[in-house]
Structures are given as C-alpha cells and as structure tokens.
C-alpha cells in the first residue's frame, strides 16, 4: 500500500507501539483487499462485547492500555457498541460475576485508550449521524448499513480490532464502500409490498438480504411507497445486514445517492421481485411454537419512539412471562423522565440499557433462565438466536406484548 509521510512515521514507531500495531493490522487487511492507500476517517464505532472478546481479547486490550510509550489514546471520536450486560440488571439475566468482571476489565482498558463508552448500536439516532460522503470506521453492521445507505456516509464493516485501529490512527484502508465505484447497485429489487410494522420492515430486509447474499452486493430497491421512518429503516437495514452481510442499499428516489434509479444502476442489472407472500413466508417460517418463554425487544436498541409505543401497549396489562426492552444509555434517561419505563415495568416488563440481547451471553442466559421460545419484533434477532439454542419467533410489537400476557403467540 502507498503510505504518506505520517503513516510511514507511525509504521516506524515514532508515535509509539500502539499506533504502530494498529497500522500494521490495517495494512494487513488493506493489502488483502487490494487497497491502494489509507483514507482519513472522522469517527470510529467499536463493537467489543466481552462474549466476543473473551479472556484473550480482554488481555489483548489490557496490553494496549498498559502501554506507556508514545500515543495510547485514540485520535478521533471513538465510541462503543452495546456492552455484554446492564450491570444494574445482570441478575435478571442470570449473568455470572465472572462475566461482569470481564466487562469491567474491558471497560477500564477502553477508557485508558480514550474510548467513549456510549454503548449504543443506534448512534445514528442518538449520538451523531454521519453526513454524506463522510468517511467513517463503524462497527455494528446495522450502524454501517444505515450510515452508508440512509446518511450516504462511507464505511466498511469494521470489526472491533479494526475500528479501534482506525480510532488510534485516524484512518482506514481505502477499499470497499470507501470507493465510489463499489457503491453502485449490483442488482435491482422491485418490492410489491411496503410494510408498515417494524417486524414487517425487518422481514423485508431479511428477504432482500438473503437474495443479495454477500457483502459486495448492493441492492437498489424500487417500489417503496411513501417515506419510511428512521425506526423502520433501522429494522430494515439491520435485518438485511444480518441475513445477507449487506453493507449498503439504495432506495430509488429516497436515499441520498439514488435520487434517480440511473444514478446508481447501470442498464442490464439482474432484477427480482419481492412480494408480500415472500415477506409473510419468512415470518411464518420462524413461528415454530405457540408457547413463549420470554419476549425481547432489542437488536437494534429501541428508540424513544419505540419505547413510547411499547409503553402504550403495556398500559393496563399484566405479564405472565418476562418481557425485556433494551435501549441505549442515551435514550434510557429520557424514557425514565417521560414515564415510559415506569409504564412498561408496571406491567411486569423490564427496560434494560447499554446492552443488546444477542451480545450479552445469549446462550448462557437461555441456560440460566430456561428461556428457549422467544418472541420478538426484530428480524435481526430471530436470525441470530437460532444459533444460540433458541426457538426465536418473529411477530409484531402488539402480538409480542399479547404473548407476554398470555404466554401464547397468536398465529397471523
């Protein structure tokens, strides 16, 4: 890769061992993908829950954090994805003290590196959305696909080690979605059905993700009616990224790079139709039981508006099975102030903050709490939890709340 003078100095160790190690990692990845050079980035978003890190990852971070020579702290605003727990409510999840100790060690290491512990996967709603053409190094796939597609920013999926490296060096290898030519559509999807519910948007994203199928595919979607809301596109993108590893889509006439179809799509692209039956079939395929052990709203964390809607559905109800709603540390105080938290918890639910269900030792939670049959309105969550020993079921927020009351999920 072509390095500028500053990068050569970092590689020579003039800024110390921590940035040098970070740049070495970035060069390894950049050369793998044929990047010609580095591009400056303005923000990094770092996914690093301790279930993923493990003891080995935390030790690795502690090694960086203990470095005394040269630059140890990040150069650009570097924020975090959800943690592996909500410390105040770890008992409710059956989490052990060993899990919490590992979390505390990771947090201490990150703080020593200058990382801001925002613990959110909806930073584009709560911290600072990137702007069009802004190069960033974002972690969580839902954050990347939203930032690329809805904001028009430029990011690859940056896993924790690479996002931290970007924070430490202020740059990232220029490949993939940092390059304009890689952002053009590779297939057209004509949607014959515009969902209204969040689970419907998530299911549609899942169907398109399965069709598109790999990271380098960029679907341009036609036929969406009206202007979708941020929460709808949040579920749509997060699910597409989860089902298909997709990092960028365009909505013809709606998203910033696709004012006109021809702005992103060359003639002759493969073209497919997605119908309401496709969306319904994806949801039905997960409805494998009528009994529910737990109801979870998470993945992505809930916005203030989602919590408001949920609070409205909880009024006057009494839950027979646990209901968890997970939000960000930025939204939680507002939900408390507005009374949403109290209304959800008066029905027997619980509002958790700063974690996300699947990033919080979901397998161990299942074993400790006896939760297998899980109802949620998140298509992303059902896609992930199958591998964690759950029988996840996808339904509307209304149906999930009803299931929390009766213990049964109605067929739709």
């Amino acid at each position: 890769m072509k390095l500028n003078d500053e990068e050569k100095d970092i590689l020579a160790g003039k800024a110390g061992p921590v940035p040098r190690q970070a740049l070495q990692h970035q060069i390894k990845v950049g050369e793998f993908f044929g990047a010609e050079d580095m591009v400056a980035v303005t923000q990094a978003h770092l996914m690093a829950d301790t279930e993923s890190l493990g003891e080995a990852g935390v030790r690795w971070l502690e090694g960086l954090a203990a470095t005394v020579d040269g630059q140890r702290r990040v150069r650009i605003p570097t924020i975090t994805d959800p943690r592996g727990t909500d410390f105040a409510n770890a008992d409710l999840l059956g989490q052990t003290s060993a899990m919490l100790d590992l979390e505390r060690r990771a947090i201490s290491a990150f703080e020593a590196l200058g990382v801001a512990m925002t613990n959110t996967c909806i930073n584009y709603q709560t911290i600072q959305a990137p702007t069009r053409n802004e190069h960033v190094a974002f972690g969580d796939t839902g954050v990347v696909i939203y930032s690329n597609s809805i904001c028009g920013a430029r990011s690859n999926f940056e896993g924790g080690p690479s996002a931290l490296a970007a924070g430490l060096t202020g740059r990232t290898p220029r490949y993939g979605f940092h390059l304009p030519e890689m952002r053009r559509a590779t297939l057209r999807i004509h949607v014959e059905f515009t969902p209204t519910s969040l689970n419907g948007w998530g299911a549609l994203g899942g169907v398109i993700g399965r069709i598109a199928g790999n990271y380098w595919a960029v679907p341009v979607i036609e036929g969406i009616e009206g202007a979708p809301r941020s929460d709808q596109l949040k579920h749509f993108g997060a699910s597409m990224a989860s089902f298909g590893s997709i990092a960028l889509f365009h909505l013809a006439g709606l998203t910033p790079e696709a004012g006109k179809l021809t702005d992103v799509a060359a003639p002759g692209l493969p073209s497919l139709r997605v119908t309401r039956a496709d969306v319904d079939e994806l949801q039905r395929s997960y409805h494998t039981d009528d009994q529910v052990d737990v109801v979870v709203f998470s993945a992505p964390q809930l916005s203030l508006f989602e919590l408001s809607d949920l609070a409205g559905l909880c009024d006057g109800r009494r839950f027979a099975v646990p209901l968890l709603a997970v939000t960000s540390p930025q939204v939680k105080p507002d939900a408390d102030r507005m009374g949403y938290t109290a209304r959800i918890e008066a029905a027997g639910g619980k509002v958790l903050s700063g974690m996300c269900f699947y990033q919080s030792y979901a397998r161990e939670i299942s074993e400790a709490m006896g939760w297998k049959r899980l109802a949620t309105n998140s298509a992303k969550l059902v896609n992930i939890l199958g591998g964690y020993g759950y029988r996840p079921m996808l339904a509307s927020m209304e149906s999930c709340v009803d299931a929390a009351v009766s213990g049964k999920l109605a067929r739709t």
Binding site: H25, F32, S52, F157, G159, P161, Y215, G386
Partner: protein, 136 residues
C-alpha cells in the same frame, strides 16, 4: 502423487496443511458456531453438528455480524479453531478477524471452490503464493 492447484485473488497468513470440511454455505463465528465445543451448531447450517477444529474450512461466503473479528482470536487462544479458512468471497470482518486471530485465509477463485474441493481431502493452503493445493 496427484495434485490440483487453485489460485486465490486474496490471501493472508501462514502456510498450513490439513483435512477439509466443505459445504456450500456461509460462515459466521457468532451465528453458526458452538465455540466452546468446536462444532457448527446453527440447525440450518449444512455442517450442523460437525467439528471444525483443526479443519481447513471450505465455504461459500462470510455471513452475519462483526463479532467474528474478535472471535477467531479468542478461539485461537483456546486452540478450538479452524486450521484455515477458504471461501468464494469474504467480507472485511472475516479478513480483520483472520488478521488478529492468525488464521490463514484464501478467498476469491475462478470457480466455485466449494464444488471443486472434496470434503475430507488433504489440502495445503499457501497464502504467500495465493494457492490451495489438493494432495490426494
């Protein structure tokens, strides 16, 4: 000795030799693996129930979230890890994870590599040369 050689466009890591585990399916450490016991555990995965430890995994494409970027490093620390990864296409997360976790990787072939390589074959992965060699 009969050998067949496949050239990869993307390559990283050390040269290793071992048995393959092949499927036309995706790979995500978080979604697909029981990382404690070293088996594929996602019920719908074509390799569900099979051990990946010490195997050269030959799969179609990277799937899922960003956790794999950390998880290969953690799996390597316990020795419950594939010997190498060979894929038709990868995403940045898998490359980042392989870089941190020191897992050799090849990606991008002129043919469907999951159809070309027999399951259980003895192969050598040589990232420096960017080639996979089947050694019968």
């Amino acid at each position: 000795m009969n050998t067949r050689i496949f050239r990869a466009r993307h390559a990283m890591g050390r040269t290793v030799r071992g048995p393959t585990l092949v499927a036309k399916d995706g790979f995500s450490a978080r979604y697909d693996l029981d990382r404690i016991n070293g088996i594929f555990c996602r019920p719908s995965h074509k390799l569900a129930g099979q051990s990946y430890v010490g195997k050269i995994l030959v799969l179609d494409t990277a799937k899922g979230g960003v956790a794999t970027a950390w998880m290969l490093h953690e799996m390597q620390s316990r020795g419950i890890v594939p010997l190498a990864l060979v894929l038709n296409s990868v995403n940045p997360i898998l490359a980042q994870g392989a870089a941190l976790g020191d897992v050799p990787m090849l990606a991008g072939f002129d043919e469907d590599i999951t159809a070309a390589i027999p399951n259980g074959a003895e192969v050598e992965v040589n990232p420096e040369m960017g080639v996979l060699t089947v050694v019968d």
